[in-house]
């Protein structure tokens, strides 16, 4: 009987210790589209985050506490993104890795500001900057469109020698943000776009827009949109015989998007990226591990979410999991050199600044230019 009661006490103690260990897990939330039209484009972000969590946990966690990743699906919808953020909040995470869809992040902005939980996003809209519509706890793990779209326009004129520039963009916060930045560069260089065309986010046929661009005699076309748009655009640009040089916004050169292009139809198309870890010798080890793990080439967005988790982990190691302290600590980060970018949040820093131009060739990317 005594042996039995000792065993029961021992078991109870063991269970309580196990519970303590579980309770000390650091919860990292992730609000991302795992279903719907943005799921494909956001898949690398989940990969990058998972890889960082596994790397940290493999080294014993943060001061002995493991990171527990909790993922909630936005369903690729605005209301879904608000609800998913609220679901994550209920699980009391230390920090949140958020969606890259700028409109969704804007719709969560009030809650992000109210709750004060460090929230990292790969959304690129210039509107998310702290001096615009951003809030203190929101950190961008990406280069703002303010630089990326301008880099595309500069590359079109300076490197490709474009004289007749056309823009084809999604009629969304993201697409319009690109148009504004491109137009500011063109105005500076006294170039007037020969065509500015738009399409609705739900559109899957750009025939009229492409034909108008063709009629305008554009020599360079800059296209900004989401992965499903690029799959259609690649096919129709070729079918309609457009011979202009083409520059895609970031989502058009993600490995997950390139996989969807048919044959050599995308060969020669340029695209903007923050970085190219898959072909960067300095990131070779990381890129190799990523490829082995997920059976696909890494991209800048996966690397940036990896960096985001690492920055959060470093801040937690320094100040603990108190949200206010974490935000304060994150706001001191300056020139943090990660895998996908170099980040600054101190002095109202807006995340990364690096931009590169790549070119698609037989399903692979080559570096065409690094834009300063």
């Amino acid at each position: 009987m005594r042996i039995l009661s000792k065993s029961v006490i021992a078991a109870a103690l063991a269970m309580s210790f196990a519970q303590v260990a579980f309770a000390d897990d650091i919860k990292l939330g992730m609000v991302i589209g795992t279903t719907g039209p943005f799921a494909g484009g956001e898949a690398p972000l989940v990969n990058g985050t998972k890889m960082a969590v596994e790397d940290i946990n493999a080294k014993g966690g943060i001061k002995g506490n493991k990171i527990q990743l909790i993922i909630e699906d936005t369903g690729s919808e605005q209301t879904g993104a608000i609800n998913a953020y609220n679901r994550i909040l209920d699980q009391e995470p230390s920090a949140i890795m958020n969606t890259t869809v700028s409109g969704f992040v804007l719709s969560q902005m009030g809650t992000i500001g109210d709750e004060g939980i460090p929230t990292l996003t790969g959304a690129a809209s210039a509107q998310l900057a702290l001096d615009k519509k951003g809030v203190e706890p929101l950190f961008r793990v990406r280069t703002s469109d303010l630089y990326v779209a301008k880099a595309a326009a500069r590359f079109a004129i300076d490197n490709l020698g474009g004289k007749k520039i056309a823009v084809l963009r999604a009629n969304s916060e993201f697409g319009n943000s690109w148009l504004n930045q491109i137009q500011s560069v063109l105005t500076d260089k006294s170039v007037k776009p020969v065509a500015v065309e738009s399409f609705e986010v739900a559109d899957r046929d750009f025939t009229p827009q492409i034909l108008r661009i063709k009629d305008a005699g554009a020599d360079v076309v800059i296209v900004s949109g989401d992965p499903p748009h690029f799959v259609v655009a690649v096919q129709q640009l070729k079918q309609l015989g457009l011979t202009s040089k083409v520059i895609f916004s970031n989502a058009g050169v993600l490995p997950t998007t390139i996989k969807l292009y048919q044959g050599d139809s995308a060969n020669g198309i340029y695209g903007t990226v923050d970085s190219v870890p898959a072909i960067d010798p300095a990131r070779a080890d990381w890129a190799k591990r990523y490829r082995e793990k997920f059976n696909i080439d890494s991209d800048y967005s996966a690397a940036e979410y990896y960096d985001g988790v690492m920055m959060v982990a470093a801040a937690i190691a320094k100040v603990g999991t108190d949200h206010e302290a974490l935000v304060k600590e994150m706001r001191t980060i300056k020139d943090y050199a990660g895998i996908g970018n170099t980040y600054s949040y101190a002095d109202k820093g807006d995340g990364g600044r690096s931009v590169a131009i790549v070119q698609i060739g037989d399903g692979k990317l080559t570096l065409a230019a690094t834009i300063k």
Binding site: T34, T35, D73, G75, Q78, T79, G80, I82, N83, N86, R87, L89, D90, G103, L106, S107, Q108, M109, G110, T111, D114, Q127, K133, N171, S172, E173, G175, N176, S177, V201, A202
Partner: protein
């Protein structure tokens, strides 16, 4: 129906209303999380919107696909008033109600001459035009960037920033809307709306002023859409044209049809169901749309009078069996 059974019906209804209201008041004590309260906020806003839409569709028999356009105008009016001029929340809501009411009235003018499918197509185009105009008028609406940092409601210095007070504010608006629609239905206007729905010629020969009544139905419905839009803007704190899409119009239509058109409780049930169902079906992940579609299909197939009709049938059956 005898006087005794009629008074018994009233007692049952009163008990039902008191129970529902008590449940609604007690809800924040059960749903303590921001997530559940957020869903409840959305449901209450859509109860107002669907109840207003039912005045047009259920009471008067006018099918409009432009209602989300009016909802959008309400949201933008209140958001712009409050963020640009610093007007109080209630002024923003009132401005939204007045402007959408006026636009609803103007929409009704061509609707007097057009009927059936043509009216549906006209309102469908109108909804899209409103969305495109909102997107194009960047100087006023910020275009695709949307309007952010819209403050949560504040009335006479009392802030509704937190989820629970906001819930009670939205509940108050929803209850007032339901009471208004209830009174409207039993008024001479409500009877005129129903007469137009059942037989326009019959209503005409009975002396109902068809044009005036249709205009009134459009205007009332639009005012409620404007109020719901204003409340949406101050609840979510961000609005952009993308949200007010045709897809949302279809969901609104489904709320009224599945709930039971022409009834008071129907749009309430429909709105609550269609807001909570997608969240409840989240566990099926990518099969959610399939499950959602099958659920809607079953409802339409098996419940031609909507869920409110089912309740009525069950209630009748229970009474005849006793």
């Amino acid at each position: 129906m005898t006087t005794q059974s009629a008074s018994r019906n009233i007692v049952w209804r009163a008990i039902g209303i008191v129970v529902l209201l008590a449940l609604a008041i007690a809800l924040p004590f059960v749903l303590k999380s921001n997530y559940y309260l957020g869903i409840a906020h959305q449901a209450l806003i859509f109860i107002i919107l669907a109840s207003g839409y039912d005045v047009l569709l259920g009471f008067t028999g006018l099918l409009s696909f432009g209602h989300i356009g009016l909802f959008a105008i309400g949201a933008y009016t209140s958001a712009i008033m409050v963020t640009s001029t610093g007007a109080p929340f209630m002024v923003g809501i009132m401005a939204a109600a007045v402007l959408t009411g006026l636009i609803g009235f103007l929409i009704s003018i061509p609707a007097l001459r057009i009927k059936g499918h043509s009216l549906t197509l006209l309102t469908l185009a109108l909804g899209e035009v409103i969305r495109l105009v909102i997107r194009s008028m960047e100087w006023l609406t910020s275009g695709s960037h949307g309007i952010s940092n819209i403050p949560r409601p504040e009335i006479l210095g009392f802030s509704f920033r937190q989820a629970v007070p906001l819930y009670y504010l939205l509940l108050a608006f929803a209850v007032l809307t339901i009471l208004f629609v209830w009174r409207l239905r039993s008024s001479r206007f409500g009877r005129a709306f129903n007469a137009i729905r059942d037989s326009e010629i019959g209503a005409d020969v009975s002396g109902v002023n068809i044009s005036a009544m249709k205009m009134l139905a459009f205007a009332i419905s639009a005012v409620l859409a404007g109020i719901a839009g204003g409340l949406y803007a101050h609840t979510v704190r961000f609005i952009s044209p993308e949200f007010f899409s045709l897809g949302l119009t279809i969901i609104l239509l489904a709320m009224v049809l599945i709930g039971g058109r022409g009834t008071i409780i129907g749009p309430v049930i429909g709105a609550a169901l269609l807001i909570t169902l997608p969240e409840a079906l989240r566990f099926v992940k990518e099969y959610y749309l399939l499950a959602f579609g099958v659920a809607i299909w079953m409802c339409v197939l098996l419940l031609p009078d909507g869920l409110a009709g089912l309740g009525k049938r069950l209630f009748k059956r229970a009474r005849t069996s006793t």
